[in-house]
Amino acid sequence: MMERVTLALPSKGAIADPTTNFLRDCGLRVDKPNPRQYTGALPAVPGMDVLFQRVIDIAYKVADNTAQFGITGLDVIHEYPHENILVIQDNLGYGECRLLVAVPEAWLDVATMADLADVALDFRELHRRNLRVATTFPFMARKFLHAHGIHHFTIVNAEGAIEAAPTIGYADVIVDLVATGTTLRENHLKPLLDGVILESQACLIGSRVALEQDGVVREAARILLEQMDASLQGKQYSQVTVNMRAGDRNDIARKLVANPLTSGLQGPTIAPIYASHDEDESWFTVTLILPNKQLLQGVDVLRSLGATDVIVTPVRYLFMDHAPTYKRLCEALAIE
């Protein structure tokens, strides 16, 4: 049994700050005493240390069990798959980007992977060489190109400034991560219509062997996932409080529950308001938890039922009867 458990987090790059922000929002504040230090602590999880690493090294550290948990990009895990790396949560909700194939905008005749397959043959016949593909994702790029019938290509391994490769001239096309597309456009490149290799975002990974064999590691996983699931679930809902007038609170309840837009998670909470003036009908305060996606529609229904004074507050945490991700993890590990 381990006494200490290590969580590896990105030390720099696009998901470094969003990761510490995400953990803070989950109630998992990261203490880093010194910006130049590579270690820290996560006080909310007893016995957990934090190790700051590059996103690729996070995968390596979890693969060799130096760290038992890590947060990195899904793209990294797909590029460097390892049997000991278990993707525990692949949808942390930040760091979204796409790994895709992009070609020069000037290639007016190329819009799809099928076009690129034809152009690859042109390279062999006209230029007597292979199509050159600049990327830091050679494993996924190779598989994707072959799957689209492109076999005559050479991977040009590159580190940084890949978007400039077709302009500088050391590659013809690129396979790279794209978040907004601005950098592509500024370098006169365009994505192919069917050239998306992977939709990526930040993910939580764990060491399979540590999770299978060590109860301390599993308990750490449970605490992490309870907090993360509660936070991620909470972000999808709002708490809505309205005042409504009715002769009977049951009238309100029946109307609200009958409409899926206002039925809430389990149903409304209805409490009487003790008004200072006498009226024929009573006032009630109704509290509901509604999904953000249908919030406005729900508010419209409430208004149509006579609701006033609509107050909407974000739900910070929503703890369900169990943490679904932890349950899935246990099923994946075949443990109780």
């Binding site: 905008e105 007016l108 005749d109 190329v110 799809t112 076009d115 042109d122 590659a171």
Partner: protein, 451 residues
């Protein structure tokens, strides 16, 4: 992939080597490491994504994924074509593939086959087919069915419809879809529209003409300097070619319709030839049909009558690579145990100044050795000697020279006590002690026990 059984594989390779030697095929030495370009030229692209490559000093190298390409390359490098040398080479050993289909890290497997390079005609083809089939019999897996095809028939159909080289190559690489019930000719046409002929979404080519191409070139100027190794004329040329290829859709459709009918033929040679000759324009295939007849007649002499042959005009395998007769061998279980064909035009693709007649085949050892009983291991006798090792070595060498496998051990963990060296230099076998003078008696006793 079947689990590897090294001893069984080695025994099979040895048996095949011996069998092919009877046909005059000598073992050829084929390097394991080659420049990867050599394999990239093999058309059909089937092996490319399986190629195990690595880089040394800026040169891309590959572990051999098959034997045919390096064998032919050696024939070319040695300029044997200049003297019209006929090379009958057998090849055997380990071949390599990256990303194995079973997801394992088992990157290597044994392979065996033969190449007859420098000899044209039906005689070489029948020789290779018969030798391949008899090799299966030598391993206890007699061939039940020989399937014959010919790449020239397909090439003749495509040429007769005046399809350009790229479209022909495209059809060759997709022809397997014709015999796939879920794809068929419509699938090939869809791929043709998407890849070779349809207007790209970036440019409306409905009324494409020279002026529009010029305008397109001007637009590329406005879109920056990122050209990625293509020139504006490259882009303009492809736009024009796509437009021209769109005009090939109808002849392509006609060709595919004819090929789809041909693809349905799968029967005994006499009936298949009759059906093929009933097609309009069948005179284009006279040469192919005559070659088939000659091969079939010779196979009959080799002991493979028409009843075990099947003609399949559109035999879906490596079309771009083969240039003549193609064949597949099946055992009684219907397993595909060997395959090959003629590939005269391949030599040019890997640097020869001319076509070189060549025909070859490969055994599929996984299928061939499937359910084959493991070969028995010869028993290795043990001399237990904890003193006077020189005496023990003397005994061991004498017994080895008499054909008895021997090892010397200092301890006897298995408690076998097969042969024990005694203090007086004699050797005990069972309850009997033998002196050097009684070596023949000892050998007789050991052989008697072995039996």
């Amino acid at each position: 992939m079947a689990p590897r059984r090294p001893r069984q594989v080695q025994a099979a390779l040895g048996a095949l080597r011996s069998h092919m030697s009877k046909f005059g095929y000598v073992p050829a030495d084929v390097p394991i490491i080659q420049r990867s370009d050599l394999f990239l030229t093999r058309a059909g692209d089937q092996i490319l994504h399986k190629l195990f490559t690595f880089e040394r000093h800026g040169v891309s190298l590959a572990l051999r994924p098959e034997f045919t390409t390096p064998a032919l390359h050696r024939y070319i490098a040695d300029h044997l074509y200049e003297t019209k040398t006929v090379a009958r080479w057998q090849v055997a050993g380990i071949i390599f593939e990256d990303d194995p289909a079973d997801g394992s890290t088992n990157f290597e497997r044994a392979s065996s086959g033969a190449e007859c390079i420098g000899l044209a005609g039906a005689a070489a083809e029948a020789e290779i087919i018969a030798m391949a089939a008899e090799g299966c019999s030598a391993l206890g897996k007699p061939v039940e069915r020989i399937v014959l095809g010919d790449a020239r028939l397909l090439h003749a159909v495509l040429s007769a419809h005046n399809l350009d080289v790229r479209v022909q190559r495209f059809v060759l690489s997709h022809v397997g879809a014709l015999t796939d019930p879920e794809r068929g000719a419509d699938y090939i046409l869809e791929r043709f529209d998407a890849q070779l002929a349809a207007p790209s979404s970036s440019l409306n080519t409905d009324s494409q003409d020279v002026e529009e191409v010029i305008r397109a070139i001007l637009v590329t100027n406005e879109r920056g300097r990122a050209m990625g190794g293509r020139t504006q004329p490259d882009i303009a040329r492809r736009l024009v070619q796509r437009q021209q290829r769109a005009a090939q859709r109808q002849p392509l459709q006609d060709a595919l319709r004819l090929l789809a009918h041909l693809a349905k033929i799968r029967t005994v040679p006499s009936e298949a030839i009759r059906l093929i000759m009933s097609f309009p324009g069948a005179e284009l295939w006279d040469q192919t049909l005559q070659n088939w007849r000659e091969v079939i007649a010779l196979l009959d002499v080799y002991g493979y009558p028409e009843s075990c042959l099947q003609l399949v005009p559109i035999l879906a395998r490596d079309w771009e690579y083969y240039s003549g007769v193609m064949f597949e061998l099946y055992d009684a279980r219907g397993s595909h145990v060997a395959g090959g064909g003629r590939y005269d035009e391949f030599a040019r693709l890997i640097g020869a100044p001319c076509d070189i007649p060549a025909v070859g085949f490969t055994y599929y050892l996984d299928a061939l050795l499937h359910e084959m009983p493991s070969s028995s291991t010869p028993h290795v006798w043990t001399i237990l000697a904890d003193h006077d090792l020189a005496q023990a070595v003397g005994w061991a060498q004498s017994l080895r020279h008499k054909g008895i496998p021997i090892q010397i051990n200092h301890v006897d963990p298995a408690g076998s006590r097969e042969l024990r060296l005694n203090d007086d230099g004699t050797l005990s076998f069972g309850d009997v002690r033998y002196t050097f003078a009684e070596l023949e008696s000892l050998v007789e006793a050991i052989n008697g026990k072995q039996r």
